[in-house]
């Protein structure tokens, strides 16, 4: 066991420990890995509803007359396409198009944006944005004052009926049990649901109230273990594993979140070049086609006798009952249907490149 002394804790830490959660270190935080079991929690989200603590994630507020133009230089997607109450998945890239972070930017007022960033990248993102902002804007890191939970699953609207009018990727300021929260119709599971950002001081009340409200619908508190299996079935990348500063949005297949029809933005030159010339490697989803140990990060991917790539995320899919993962492969073999092999402890196991999502959903 490694020391956990330097890890940060969310306002829900005591609630997790009180429920017997197994705690793990993630992105500098001590977070619940699971409560009753990863498969159990995964199944609850796919079939009913689950509640996740995502307070480790960061929240920035960007405001002022120059906010939109500034963010459109810092981020790859085009915020001009959003109206008030809409969010957008986007990427923060470095000068060579490497992915510093992936995030959702919400336009909460005409000139006010809420950015939700990854836990491990909060300081790095904030510093980068500060340094690379040339015009006068308000840029505030609210991460320590805010907490957040994700309510995910087909029964999410039963638990939170007051939010059912919010469209996919929309956001609204709502009073839930007298707490004012930002409620977004987003998530990282492939299910319908909400991500709710509240004041850190309100988190415990909100957490308990949602679990209580969800009880008739079979709600379960869920940990990062299920969060990982759920997102992998959808083929959603995890920053730090599948996308890093050494990979670009085009290599990661995130082309539709890079807007070449807007003005200049950081990383544009490299990304334009890749767009014209094509990329050498691509991030693909795959699934094992035979009984095998679960694929794990860094296992090598083969076509015939040739190493064509490496896994960046892998697990046993509880919904599909087989190993699934993401990995970078040579562009020439990055097509759905390509037969590949994964080397696991010296043995090769058959797999196939698949279209994302690996698990087909109806939303």
């Amino acid at each position: 066991m490694h020391g956990t002394a330097s890890l940060k804790r969310t306002p829900l830490y005591a609630a997790h420990v009180g429920r017997g959660a197994k705690m793990v270190s993630f992105g500098g935080w001590e977070m619940p890995a699971c409560y009753t079991g990863i498969i159990d929690e995964h199944t609850a989200v796919r079939a009913r509803v689950g509640l996740f603590d995502i307070s480790h994630m960061g929240e920035f507020l960007v405001a002022g007359p120059n906010a939109e133009a500034t963010l459109n230089v810092l981020l790859t997607n085009d915020l001009c396409k959003t109206s008030v109450g809409q969010g957008q998945y986007t990427l923060l890239c470095n000068d060579t198009g490497g992915i510093i972070d992936d995030l959702i930017a919400y336009r909460v007022e005409p000139s006010v944006f809420l950015l939700v960033v990854n836990a491990a990248n909060i300081e790095k993102d904030f510093t980068w944005m500060n340094v690379r902002t040339t015009k006068s804007i308000v840029l505030d890191n609210l991460s320590d004052q805010m907490a957040a939970v994700a309510l995910q699953g087909p029964a999410a609207t039963n638990v939170l009926p007051e939010a059912q009018g919010i469209p996919h990727f929309g956001i609204a300021r709502l009073g839930i049990l007298s707490q004012q929260c930002w409620v977004a119709r987003t998530g990282y599971t492939g299910e319908d649901g909400f991500e709710i950002v509240c004041d850190a001081g309100d988190a415990r009340t909100l957490w308990s109230a949602l679990l209580e409200r969800g009880q008739p619908f079979g709600i379960k508190p869920c940990g990062l273990g299920a969060r990982d299996t759920l997102r992998l079935e959808m083929g959603y990348p995890l920053h730090g594993n599948d996308i890093t500063e050494a990979t670009t949005p085009l290599e990661a297949g995130l082309n539709k979140f890079v807007s070449f029809d807007k003005g200049d933005f950081i990383g544009r030159a490299t990304l334009s070049g890749q767009r014209t010339a094509g990329v050498k490697r691509k991030l693909v989803a795959f699934k094992m086609t035979d009984k095998s140990p679960p694929p794990r990060p860094h296992y090598l991917i083969y076509v015939g006798d040739r190493t064509v790539g490496e896994i960046t995320s892998g697990t046993q899919s509880p919904s599909l009952g087989t190993g699934v993962g993401l990995g970078y492969v040579e562009a020439g073999v990055a097509h759905a249907g390509t037969a590949i092999e994964i080397e696991i402890r010296g043995r090769r196991f058959p797999a196939v490149v698949e279209q994302k999502p690996l698990l087909k959903r109806n939303i």
Partner: protein, 126 residues
């Protein structure tokens, strides 16, 4: 945590049930609880030789792969074939149907080096 009195334990969380000169080996209730959701078990090969303290099998849960260490030395005379289709037996019945392999011990004295149930309970802080 369930720690049966009739077994011996390794610090690395395997249990041993001695049947004459044969040792039946599995992982403890504590180990399966820590791993959660076992999805794949790579057993040793029948007739292969295992050495006390050396890795000889792998148990994979959804979240990670864990090495299993042979608690005693000897030749593997049987492996639990059921685990190939039902790895969850390690979670459901770690001391019974979730056994992993049987070793014909080359040095039965090694069993004395293993932990008693009380010592194992102390080891895991139970």
């Amino acid at each position: 945590m369930n720690i049966p009195k009739n077994l011996k334990y390794a610090k690395s969380h395997e249990w041993v049930r001695v049947e004459g000169n044969v040792a039946v080996v599995g992982i403890t209730d504590h180990a399966q609880h820590e791993m959660t959701d076992v999805v794949y078990v790579e057993t040793p090969t029948v007739d292969s030789r295992v050495e006390a303290g050396k890795e000889c099998a792998v148990v994979e849960s959804v979240k990670a792969a864990s090495d299993i260490y042979a608690p005693v030395s000897g030749d593997v005379i049987a492996v639990n074939e059921e685990l190939s289709g039902a790895p969850e037996l390690l979670n459901e019945d770690p001391y019974g149907n979730g056994w992993i392999f049987k070793v014909k011990m080359s040095d039965p004295g090694e069993v004395d080096e293993l932990l008693s149930p009380d010592d194992y309970a102390h080891h895991i802080g139970a």
